[in-house]
Amino acid sequence: MPIQYYIALASCLFCIGIVGVLVRRNAIIIFMCIELMLNAVNLLLVAFSKMYHGGAALSNATTTAGVDGQLFVFFIMVVAAAEVSVGLAVIVMMYRNVHSVDVNFLNRLKN
């Protein structure tokens, strides 16, 4: 598959994620949109890893070229999991105090 398709697809997902962050006010949904962005990156990385692997495999069948891309994705997933736990904890903490997950609800810190 031409790599450009993948890039375009990932970009599209990524931008949808960004738009989601921008248009929603629910902290959880915003967070989900961020996860969407991460997934777009994951997809892109896997695609690239296969592209480089494909390139290298032409000359050397046993190469592990491109494996680093996939491992990176693995680490992203790991980190994302950790981040989610902390993030949700923060959101829950806020919800406990103000009974809202609206990001604009708390607006004491400004100017």
Partner: protein, 463 residues
């Protein structure tokens, strides 16, 4: 390696301490001890090699610069713990955990000074950030703290997304996560440089700018610094920021320095620098709270530190060392006093000099250093940044702008001095111990020592 491993271990030790030792007062001593150990380990590594023989597969590379930077960060943290350790106990109920997180942050910071692959950069940044989200929100009942934590977290996660996109594109362009990649002629776009890589680097630039709170990606800084418990703000504004800068410089030195033959990054960087200086300095002018003012001032200082990234030469590297030292010392000093203040607005400082001359005098020296007045470390910090830019030979106007904003910065720093010395008032402080004062004086003395003889620091770096 020593710093990374030891700080992780010490974090775990403190975790266990929270279970084993119930006396909260002990934690900071353990933390200080730990810092001493790590510091010793790091210095040992600087001159004699690591305790641990680990093959990192070139993912980490421990350069003299990185190790020295670690030393600075660790020393600053030690100072921080000694000065403000007691105040950590007031931030919330989980004192040992806070110290644990601080050690984890240090672990992340040491990764950032030594990473050699974008993967380690990513992990380092995350290890640096996640504990900070927690520390920011540690004052759980305080809505300001909640708000700060939420904002910090959401924006931090968003910037992680940007960072990862950048890394992915860079990988797409070069096929490697390593900082140094072999360049082949086949890469199209900009001569010898892949278009994707350049785009990716731009995303990385944005993400790193976010981490070092450069405008226009700085928005989290004032709110988070303001909302977080002061004692953690102090930590964030100094050690964490310095570490982020080390990473920024390292990343750009390798990747951007590599592409700069084909691509001119200077215009973008200059735009970022100018807007950082503008927003940081100008917005700080009108603040009513010293704490928030310091938040903006940290943005302004970031603008100056960005000159190191801008010029990417030896002077800049040395300059960043100096700057990180000077800035951390002074900020820790100012925050240590700020934490002791009952009222952190400017009015709250009125008449402090009469009430507590030692606090006022040391704060003044720290503020003078932040403003970059000669005879303080801040002067040489700014000085080397400016000379780094002038050495590059281009964009000389940038330094003029910087200098004008430095003058603006004098305005808000001196407002504090004016409040302390020249205005009548009844500044309320918490009890301060003699040891605290002695330490503050030591900080001030260091600020002046590095201001008179920065060579003292640099000699150490070279030998």
């Amino acid at each position: 390696m020593n710093a990374i491993i030891l700080s992780a271990i010490w974090g775990v030790v403190l975790m266990f301490c929270s279970v084993l030792i119930k006396n909260k007062g002990v934690y900071r001593h353990i933390a200080a001890l730990g810092l001493l150990v790590i510091l010793a380990g790091n210095i040992h590594e600087t001159y004699h090699g690591s305790f641990f023989n680990i093959d990192t597969h070139e993912m980490l590379r421990f350069s003299r610069f990185g190790l020295f930077f670690n030393t600075i960060l660790l020393a600053a943290t030690l100072l921080y713990v000694l000065l403000s350790g007691r105040d950590v106990e007031k931030a919330g109920g989980y004192v040992a955990e806070y110290f644990t997180l601080i050690f984890f942050v240090l672990c992340g910071a040491s990764i950032l000074t030594s990473f050699n692959t974008l993967l380690m950069l990513f992990i380092g940044i995350e290890i640096l950030s996640i504990p900070l989200y927690i520390l920011t929100g540690s004052d759980k009942r305080n809505l300001r703290s909640n708000e700060a934590a939420l904002k910090y977290f959401l924006m931090g996660a968003f910037s992680t997304g940007i960072l990862l996109m950048g890394i992915a594109l860079v990988y797409g362009g070069t096929g490697s996560f390593m900082l140094e990649v072999p360049r082949s002629a086949i890469m199209g776009g900009y001569k010898g440089v892949s278009f994707l890589e350049v785009t990716g680097l731009l995303f990385l630039l944005v993400a790193m700018s976010f981490k070092v709170s450069a405008a226009p990606f700085h928005f989290w800084t004032p709110d988070v610094y303001d909302g977080a418990p002061s004692v953690f703000t102090s930590f964030m504004a100094t050690i964490v920021k310095a570490a982020a800068f080390a990473a920024f410089l390292k990343l750009f030195e390798a990747r951007v320095g590599d592409t700069s033959a084909a691509v001119d990054w200077k215009l973008l960087l200059s735009i970022i620098i100018v807007s950082t200086l503008l927003i940081g300095n100008v917005t700080a002018v009108f603040q009513q709270s010293v704490k928030r003012m310091l938040a903006y001032s940290s943005i302004a200082q970031a603008g100056f530190m960005l000159f190191a990234v801008f010029s990417l030469n030896d002077v800049a590297k040395e300059g960043l060392l100096l700057y990180a030292t000077a800035y951390s010392l002074a900020t820790i000093g100012v925050f240590a006093v700020l934490i002791k203040m009952k009222d952190v607005t400017f009015e709250g400082f009125n008449g402090l000099a009469r009430k507590n001359p030692v606090l006022a005098a040391t704060t003044t020296i720290c503020l003078l250093s932040l403003a970059g007045i000669p005879l303080t470390a801040g002067f040489f910090a700014k000085f080397s940044m400016l000379s780094a830019v002038i050495k590059t030979g281009t964009y000389t106007w940038l330094v003029v702008v910087a200098v004008l904003f430095a003058a603006v910065s004098a305005y808000y720093y001196f407002r504090v001095i004016q409040a302390m010395y020249f205005k009548e008032g009844d500044a309320q402080t918490e009890e301060v111990t003699g040891g605290f004062k002695v330490l503050l004086i030591a900080v001030a003395a260091l600020v002046i020592l590095f201001g008179v003889q920065p060579q003292a620091l640099l000699n150490w770096f070279y030998f």
